[in-house]
Amino acid sequence: MVILKVEELVSGYQDIDVIKKISFSISTGEFVGIIGPNASGKSTLLKTIAGVVKIKSGRVLINDKDIMDYHHKELAKTVGLSTNITDYSLNFKVRDFILLARYPWNFSEINYEELYEEFELKSILKKTLKELSSGELQRVLIAQLVAQTPQIFLLDEPVSHLDVGHQIGILDKLKRINLEKKITILASFHELNLAVEYCDRLILLFNGEIRKIGTPKEVMDYRILEEVYNTKLIVKTNPISEKPYVIPVPMMWNNF
């Protein structure tokens, strides 16, 4: 069943079109990654779907209903967007910060104990956000999104600035949410290899257009990647997961 459908979407800021005529659709329960170089429109696409960036033309349909027809709070009950934390909100206590995500539900109760347990937040509940490490902060952000209980998670680079252990920790949790709760996830990645390992499908964006969409094996074609990222790459296969992985080749070895 198709939960999210994007039709000929054009969006952006003031007089720049960042997203140029994009169309794709995502089924319920899929884990889809958006990859692409900097300034290719990954964040803008996510923000447009969440209703934060204005749509210039085209449509975004969620559950077959145009997001422009949703009431603000209704949309917030269906789609959750994770963004960067503002400096000002660093003074929030973890517990209060997570509770804020219940705003669209008028602060109705959910099983917080289970949520805290799941994200190992028990020990840091009373700390303020600025006392946390990057890894803990990312866990809190995802927990906040889970507390919002939307059907679709839109994650903007959920694992950047983390070490590989924390990256895997966060992505494992997301994958479990994806599989157990049948929540659709659309996340942007800088780390191609992580995107390949966790995503069912990948969308490769380039200059605001879809360069390639499909399974990781289809998208991880070195010819396309080399053109998009403007660098030499080697694509191999991970012997355990049997998915492709990418290693860049620095310029100094190009003569060999």
């Binding site: 003031q14 923000k47 969440a50 209703g51 934060v52 009431h71 603000h72 709070k73 209704e74 949309l75 917030a76 009950k77 789609v79 959750g80 967007l81 963004t83 960067n84 934390i85 503002t86 400096d87 000002y88 909100s89 660093l90 003074n91 929030f92 206590k93 209060d96 804020l100 995500a101 705003y103 669209p104 602060f107 600025k130 919002q148 839109l154």
Partner: protein, 327 residues
């Protein structure tokens, strides 16, 4: 337990302060016998009901209003240094009143200040329109520029007053409650209370707005509308305050920031505690201004400035007031 002790001490101080400002230098025995005999025409009784009580009301509600507008503007612009004074709203309103005075408009003080209200509303919303793209740092800078600009214009305009009048104008500019009119005070207080109730009810929305524009919108907040409404309400409150008591600086920055250290970022608590402490702070300052060098009355801004700065400095040195900016 220690927390509650603080609250008791402050309540006690508050009651003492109000009792002092109401009954200082009044013959209490005479007053009580007057009330028992239902003799409401004596001088003592008139001083109490027509001067002292309105003054206490005015100072408390102006303080409360300044504090809560400080809170709201800080949350709207996500900057802990915002308040009506630094954003130039107070100067706009002040200019309105002075222009009304100079042009000798055939209106009483209430309408002159309303002129100030409308004028500052116009300027602020013109700015919001101009800076539609980014209602953030550029707006704050514009506010600071406005503040300097209108302060300059006010000083320039004072040249047109005759030397006798200029004394009162300057006193009014520095802020004070010495010439409040009882009926105007009550009307203003009612309006201020209504506005404050509206703002406190918006507390949850402010909680979410602090998460940043994008997160707030994605959580279903109509961010622009709420910002505009809250700025509008702040402008109304601030204009009323300016018309009541002139330009009182600093309260809107000091009180919210100090209170925030105890209440955290829950806006309903923060607003409520700020308005109580703001009211208390300004009525205390007014009391000092009136009685410290009696019969000479000191402009209240002197006290809010001095006490406020010292408190603020202590809190900055002790607490982690601006830790949020650095990290």
């Amino acid at each position: 337990m220690k927390k509650f002790l603080w609250i008791y001490v402050i309540c006690l101080l508050f009651i003492l302060n109000i009792a002092f400002s109401l009954f200082y230098n009044l013959d209490l025995n005479l007053l009580i016998t007057n009330i028992i005999n239902k003799n409401f025409t004596t001088t003592e009784f008139k001083i109490l009901t027509q001067i002292r009580i309105p003054r206490v009301f005015a100072s408390f509600f102006v303080g409360a209003a300044l504090a809560i507008t400080g809170c709201v503007l800080q949350s709207v612009f996500l900057n802990p240094l915002c308040e009506g004074y630094t954003l130039g709203i107070a100067s706009c309103a002040g200019l309105g009143v002075i222009v009304g005075n100079i042009l000798n408009l055939p209106l009483n003080k209430f309408f002159n200040s309303l002129l100030g209200v409308i004028f500052s509303l116009g300027v602020v919303f013109l700015l919001v329109l101009l800076f539609k793209k980014t209602v953030d740092i550029s707006f704050i800078l514009a506010g600071i520029v406005l503040n300097f600009f209108f302060s300059g214009v006010i000083i320039l305009l004072t040249l047109f007053f005759d030397p006798y009048e200029i004394h009162y104008v300057l006193l009014w500019l520095l802020g004070g409650f010495s010439s409040v009119d009882a009926h105007y005070v009550y009307i203003s207080c009612i309006v201020i209370v209504i506005c404050i109730v509206i703002l406190i009810n918006m507390g949850d929305k402010f909680d979410v707005m602090i998460l940043g524009k994008e997160k707030a919108i994605s959580l279903g907040i109509k961010e622009r509308i709420i910002k505009n409404i809250s700025i509008l309400i702040c402008v109304i409150i601030l204009s009323l305050c300016v018309s009541l008591s002139g330009i009182i600086s600093f309260v809107g920055v000091i009180v919210p920031n100090v209170v925030k250290m105890f209440t955290g970022l829950k806006h309903k608590n923060w607003f409520f505690m700020s308005l109580i402490f703001g009211g208390f702070f300004v009525s205390l300052c007014d009391n000092l201004a009136k009685n410290l060098l009696y019969p000479l009355e000191i402009p209240i801004s002197v006290f809010t400035g001095i006490i406020g700065s010292i408190f603020f400095l202590v809190f900055i040195l002790k607490g982690n007031l601006y830790g949020n900016i650095k990290s």
